[in-house]
């Protein structure tokens, strides 16, 4: 089933098409959400929110971009907004209860380099981190990243380059 046909059937509330639409994109959306959040529950929440928003907005999809680009633009927006909310909440909680526990939850004990690497990536701003994770860890092209983030391809390349520079400096300081 091609994209136009699939979209038409989803708009006609065909349950099979809705599921096919979900199956076609869920893996990449979930992987990106997990890479960004580093937490299964958050990744599931972000994936759910992405698809709920996609089903709501599908009548407005005009086919100007590929469906995967369109759904990733929703996913990136959901993930970044969700992470900001989580960070605000965690900051409030850690200020009150655990002043030393600021930062991401994932690193845990492990080799020095691994901790350094995690810190170097976590230390990036979300704008740079999302480009790095999409390109270097998940294999998206700059065209896909640009489409999902609504930025020019050149900006995506520049952000990746800045992310690399910052990581190099952070790793050198370890």
């Amino acid at each position: 089933m091609d994209e136009k046909h699939l979209v038409a059937r989803v708009l006609a509330r065909d349950a099979e098409a809705e599921r096919a639409f979900y199956e076609a994109h869920v893996d990449r959306v979930y992987r990106l959400a997990y890479r960004m959040a580093g937490d299964e529950a958050l990744a599931e929440d972000f994936t759910q929110d992405t698809f709920l928003r996609a089903f709501d907005r599908l009548p407005g999809f005009r086919g100007e971009a590929r469906l995967s680009t369109w759904i990733h633009s929703i996913a990136v927006s959901v993930i970044l907004n969700g992470l900001r909310r989580v960070k605000r909440r965690r900051d409030r909680e850690t200020c009150v209860e655990h002043p030393d526990a600021l930062g991401h939850r994932n690193p845990g004990p492990g080799p020095e380099t691994r901790i350094g690497l995690t810190r170097a990536i976590d230390g990036l701003t979300d704008k740079l981190r999302v480009v790095l994770l999409m390109h270097d860890l998940e294999g998206y092209t700059h065209e896909e990243i640009a489409g999902a983030l609504g930025i020019p391809v050149g900006t995506s390349k520049a952000r990746l380059s800045r992310a690399h520079d910052k990581m190099r400096r952070a790793l050198a300081a370890c």
Binding site: K4, V7, A8, R9, L11, A12, R13, A15, R19, Y22, E23, V26, D27, Y30, R31, Y34, R35, M36, A37, G38, E40, A43, E44, T47, Q48, F51, L52, F55, P59, F61, R62, G63, N106, T113, R114, L117, T118, I121, L133, D136, L137, H164, M167, R168, L171, A172
Partner: protein, 209 residues
Amino acid sequence: MSEDRFDEILRQARETYHRPPKPPREAIWAAIERRRERESPGRRRLPRRRWICWPAAAAAVLVLGIAIGRVWTPAPPPTGIIETETPDAGRGEASALYRLAMERYLGQADALLTRFRAGSPAGEVNGFLSDWAHGLLVETRLLLDSPAADDVELRRLLTDLELVLAQIVQLSGDSRGDQRQWIRDGLEKREIMTRLRSQAAPGDFPKGV
């Protein structure tokens, strides 16, 4: 730091930084379904619930008819025999309603598709035709969930019309010509106009409709 060393670090990051597990597809889908149902209750049952209107309307017509009959017809002398309504009377009223609704629907669908095939300007597809198609799409779903769709041929036609109407609704003013042509090709390939007109022929409704 050398390029090779940095590439090695990025490879390591792929393996270790927030490495995603297999997504719990079924659990996520179930949660999405639950939330969609909660956020718009009866979403999937909408046509079914709306279809309750048909028997209700038929029943209302019957009640009105009986009431008028009782007002205008002199009461018969008491005989001691209790009269009952025959089920056929209700079925006849409902059948007339189905027929009226289906006649109107098929006529509208024919008119819309004829106008679309004639080559509408882009602006019209964006506005008037799109609204018209949207209204007919809702009616199609109601009819698909009604006894009218018990007829196999009519059901196939309604299913094809549902798809075509959804495609027309989706067209925008700046849609490319090949998108419209794609819909026209679909109409030809599935012989929708021929089937539509043969179903719309007077006195040719399926049983019970």
